[in-house]
Symmetry: C3
Subunit: 267 residues, 3 copies
């Protein structure tokens, strides 16, 4: 497998995929294109069991969706799920027989956060990882599964705080709230995740598939609900207030490497 925005390395049953979409790992059409191909090719290879997603940029894991190219990246998602929705693409990953692990250094906001929530588990570097769902600052709602996952993982009150504040959360608080499995020192993160991935990769696939199916039946939002959140995002994005808020943000450095280091503070 080779991709433009993913550097991959295979070790036995595990594929390590490092997101490499400079300058700031925006989720644009190229990255979505590659994610679709990786999932497709990965599912077609019976000897592959686990995919670990990491980042080539220590400051950004996935910054968020490229707001300037919504139609394009949505169309890329449609190649796999038949509908132009990255929420449904992410939900597809959650339902896949492949076990997905997010190994997070740097920022994950908006659709970036929704991507790591769609992974089966997520571990983050205490020193550098930063989490946020900034949508309401733009008159939007998390549209790619953020509401579905966060409310179930952390409960109504904390999910409302996180989403309505549109603020940045560090890895320790994200762990405390259940946004991720665990925060740990960057020094041990790589070894921890690699070891866990190989361990899971050594187990037979049919038990794993049953566990994922049964867990998803309880805790994964329905296709209908993912589609609805996605549609509401699309409707909101077309409103003049959303466009005005987005333009203002662009003037303050939105979608620039430096302008988003402390995005939460810019609202």
């Amino acid at each position: 497998m080779t991709f433009d925005t993913l550097k991959v390395r295979r070790e036995e049953a595990v594929l390590f995929a490092s997101i490499d979409a400079p300058p700031m790992n925006l989720l644009g059409p190229e990255l979505v294109h590659d994610l679709v191909d990786l999932i497709r090719q990965g599912e077609a290879d019976d000897t592959l069991r686990v995919v670990v997603f990491a980042s080539a940029d220590p400051d950004y894991f996935i910054s968020h969706a490229d707001i300037a190219r919504v139609k394009e990246y949505r169309d890329e998602a449609a190649r796999l799920v038949g509908e132009p929705s990255i929420g449904l693409l992410f939900r597809y990953l959650s339902g896949s027989r492949l076990v997905s692990i997010a190994q997070i250094e740097g920022r994950v906001r908006g659709a970036g956060s929704e991507f790591i929530l769609a992974c089966d588990m997520a571990f983050a570097a205490r020193e550098t990882a930063i989490f946020g769902q900034p949508e309401v600052a733009f008159n939007l709602n998390p549209g790619a599964g953020g509401i579905q996952h966060l409310v179930r993982l952390m409960g109504r009150s904390r999910a409302l705080e996180v989403i309505l504040s549109a603020d940045d959360y560090d890895a320790d608080l994200a762990e405390h709230y259940g946004w991720i499995n665990r925060a740990m020192s960057a020094k041990v993160l790589d070894e921890f995740v690699s070891s866990l991935a190989h361990r899971i990769g050594s187990f037979p696939p049919s038990g794993i598939a049953v566990v994922k199916d049964r867990a998803n039946a309880i805790a994964l939002g329905s296709v209908h609900d993912f589609r609805r959140d996605s549609d509401l995002f699309g409707i909101a994005a077309a409103q003049p207030e959303s466009q005005r808020r987005t333009e203002d943000a662009f003037h303050r450095g939105f979608q620039t490497w430096e302008g988003e280091l402390a995005l939460g503070e810019t609202f």
Copy 2:
């Protein structure tokens, strides 16, 4: 807006309401009357986005419902929700377009706890906040949403512990169990909540409304379930055993400022 049991102060999109119903902030007909009026008037004012509830009494936020005046306070709730149930009144607040934040110092037990659970988020002073659902000590069940919220926020085992023990929980343990968003030092609580309220108040309302609706669709118990808990409370309250337990408690200082400082220890 002016009320008998609420001191209010408006700052831009945020209303600060301080509960002031001496001697111990019992949830009686007067306070329910004022809460109904505040919600009504607040929802009618498009420029109001966020309501912060605090207490004028550092020892009691809301002690609990006034057991001597159940019919009266229930009738006040009916003015807004058409049924004599504070559970349905609290649920109405959870569904409101207004964002509600509880800023807790002092005790919140019974319906007081159920009120802060109905708020969209809750932050408490580590030094003074105390939480409890003492109903089973009276042969009752939490009837105003406590079961609905606690089971979803902290899971079956911890919710059963909390409710079946009828005991007092401090702010740190309440945070650990997910009863509240966070416990923090009383020194920083006011500034933290005020800053968060103004931040949310600065965001456009339509994205917030979508987020609340979608989160409630996942994690807010149904009207049917709130009504059922409320009815079960009413049925239990009429039983001789409940009346005997309540009378005994009154003899030990129940519903007195001093008698409830350590209510959990009196059972």
Copy 3:
């Protein structure tokens, strides 16, 4: 009451049952037989309100189900629930009017973990308790309610981590993830649980029954789902891959006192 594998002691409304099935407290037909009898006799005694389960073996609370005697222990469960499923037996305990508390020292893995999850609450000794759901290492799925409870208690990501890793978790991490109510020092555990049990035992039963019913309606998986997980376990256990994995494990010391001290490390 007298049993072969349970030492019981009655104090007022509380029954203390210590699991004593040497050499390692396997959940075999004898222990299931006694659990069925204890539940039956306990429910028939109106003066009994609370059952505390502890272990006579400081290293094993319940190690796991006896893989060599699946049909036998399932048949014992059928005596109470009409179907050969310990998942349904455990679910029956969750629905019982009896309040059940697990006081855990030593290992609880597989069906042992599923038993303490079925109890209404669980407290563990920080120094000695170890938790695990090792099924996927055997090509199996947790079949006695583990998926149903863990996903609801700790959310999708952490439940998938715990189950797919098939690894050992200490009491602090188990508490952090919500697997148990609380971890505490072994020195205070006994007194804490005993005091809580007597406190709950002193409250009238009808309020407690209402609370359990209403909490279970929200957070206890359906009979259908417990039965389905149980059936999937049975189907998987018959596969050659599962049998091969189990045989291999037996050669490495599986189901021996010493071989399971650090079971997670043997996969």
